[in-house]
């Protein structure tokens, strides 16, 4: 095993930035008061939570009163879907989403179907793009919510969110977006993009794991799922994760401070890597949209190999990446996202996701451009008997 790590898995998680850790530290030991307490020690905690709420709101173009802290993107997605469905049951029982959502959305929809709701799973085109006209065609007088992710976690395709939001609102339907992969990479403005609810997760933009938020537009009817104390205006009970909330606020402020600059730096590295792969390795296919994609995402299939075997070979050299299929009993293989895009099963199993970010350097790109062609050629010789 190589000692040096070449990290190409920023879509899975990111390290907590040292500035974020520094912002969090005093709230473990020094300012540890429970924000719900009445004495002076709690004042600093309350102020810190309010400050973080403002930082999240500013990043989204929202007001602080519309931000609710959660334990991450999965909880935010669950709350948005179940909460809106339950609170609006008398208006309707139909939800529209897409076939390429994260399992936090898809499994929640399956749960709601078992509770009597109906769900339309919209198809996508070969690039993983949702057609706003298809959203409109699927809306019925029983539809209460449209949920479409801002950017896909596997192939990076960025959806026409403003157009989809406009379609939903023309029909009086609420619009939720899972923006877990988008925040920090794509500018977000909940008003301009006509978003009513938005999920985000701290550890995707160099914040701490186990932190997240749900943006809920003022006036949206949503049921409470976590009952207990009166935290978060009585909508999400439980003692606040004070250091985590402080870290989330610091991380989103940092990540959204210069999105164009960050995106340009990462996209330049990504393009160099992609061009290099296409030049050096034959029989490869780029999955996802050629231009409307996250700056740090490459999802590519290498005909004639198994993606997991490629990951194992690269892993021996310290490369951390991801694949769209896992050869394990009980796993869904290949990826539901690639399948929905019409990628043939053999190519879906041969996929590799490389997600770049703050940790990626030019030296990492050079290393991978050296290692990848050899690894692919080696596996192709094994599987096809090529000389």
């Amino acid at each position: 095993m190589s000692e040096k790590i070449h990290y190409f898995d920023h879509a899975a998680t990111t390290p907590t930035h040292p500035e974020v850790v520094a912002a969090m530290l005093p709230y473990f030991t020094e300012h540890f008061g429970n924000p719900s307490s009445l004495y002076g020690l709690a004042d600093e905690s309350r102020e810190a939570v309010d400050r973080a709420r403002g930082q999240v709101a500013a990043a989204l173009g929202a007001s602080p009163a519309e931000i609710f802290f959660t334990a991450g993107g999965t909880e935010s997605d669950n709350w948005a879907l179940k909460g809106v469905a339950l609170a609006n049951r008398e208006k309707g029982d139909h939800i529209i989403t897409t076939a390429i959502e994260h399992h936090a959305i898809l499994h929640t929809c399956e749960f709601l179907e078992r509770q009597g709701f109906s769900v339309t799973y919209l198809p996508v085109d070969r690039y993983g793009m949702v057609d706003p006209a298809a959203v409109e065609a699927a809306i019925t007088d029983r539809t209460v919510l449209v949920s479409v992710m801002t950017a896909n976690n596997e192939v990076g395709t960025i959806q026409p969110i403003a157009a989809i939001g406009a379609v939903a609102h023309e029909h009086g339907v609420l619009f939720h977006t899972d923006a877990v992969q988008a925040v920090g990479n794509v500018p977000i403005d909940v008003d301009a993009m006509q978003i009513d609810l938005l999920s985000l997760s701290g550890h995707k933009f160099y914040g701490p794991k186990g932190t997240g938020a749900l943006y809920i537009r003022d006036g949206v009817a949503i049921e409470t799922l976590v009952h207990g104390g009166g935290q978060e205006k009585g909508r999400r009970a439980g003692t606040e994760n004070l250091p985590g909330i402080v870290g989330l606020g610091a991380a989103i402020e940092r990540a959204c401070g210069d999105i164009p600059g960050h995106a340009a730096r990462v996209a330049a590295l990504r393009d160099r890597l992609l061009d290099g792969i296409l030049e050096r390795v034959p029989e490869v296919t780029l999955n996802g949209h050629p231009t409307e994609r996250l700056p740090g995402n490459i999802n590519i299939s290498f005909a004639g190999i198994d993606g997991e075997a490629l990951l194992t070979l690269l892993g021996m050299q310290g490369v951390c990446a991801s694949t769209g299929s896992a050869c394990s009993s009980g796993e869904e293989a290949p990826s539901h996202v690639l399948t929905a895009m019409g990628v043939p099963p053999a190519l879906a199993r041969a996929s590799l996701r490389l997600s770049l970010g703050d940790l990626t350097t030019g030296a990492d790109i050079d290393f991978l451009l050296d290692a990848l062609p050899d690894a692919v050629a080696r596996l192709r010789r094994l599987s096809r008997g090529h000389a």
């Binding site: 004639g304 190999i305 198994d306 997991e308 075997a309 194992t312 070979l313 021996m316 299929s325 050869c327 394990s328 009993s329 009980g330 796993e331 293989a333 290949p334 099963p345 053999a346 199993r349 010789r381 094994l382 599987s383 096809r384 008997g385």
Partner: protein
Amino acid sequence: MQFTETVMDHFTNPRNVGVLEDADAFVEVGSSECGDTTALYLKIEDDRIVDVRFRTLGCAAAIASSSMATEMIKGKSLEEAWALTNREVAAALGGLPEPKMHCSVLAEDAIRQAINAYREKQGLEPW
């Protein structure tokens, strides 16, 4: 996923890879669980496997299982090769993580199907 040193050795330096142009038996088998495929070639003399080659499209466990299985059946009689189980292949690899045990089944299936293909070619009943 954590593999044993033996698995990693057979994955990175697989034995008996390739094609036997004059094979007496050839099969290509696939796993319905994960889409792995193995092509197996046997050269048989006097009911004994004198040479064997494979090509596998699959994960590290599938490739290592194929490699180890070919090592284990080379020189064996068809009866002895038929008796080889996937658990013996996995044990020879120092063990496989439970979610990967099905990869060793692919090797067992390939050997048995190849032996039956040979028997049928000889006008014998398949085992």
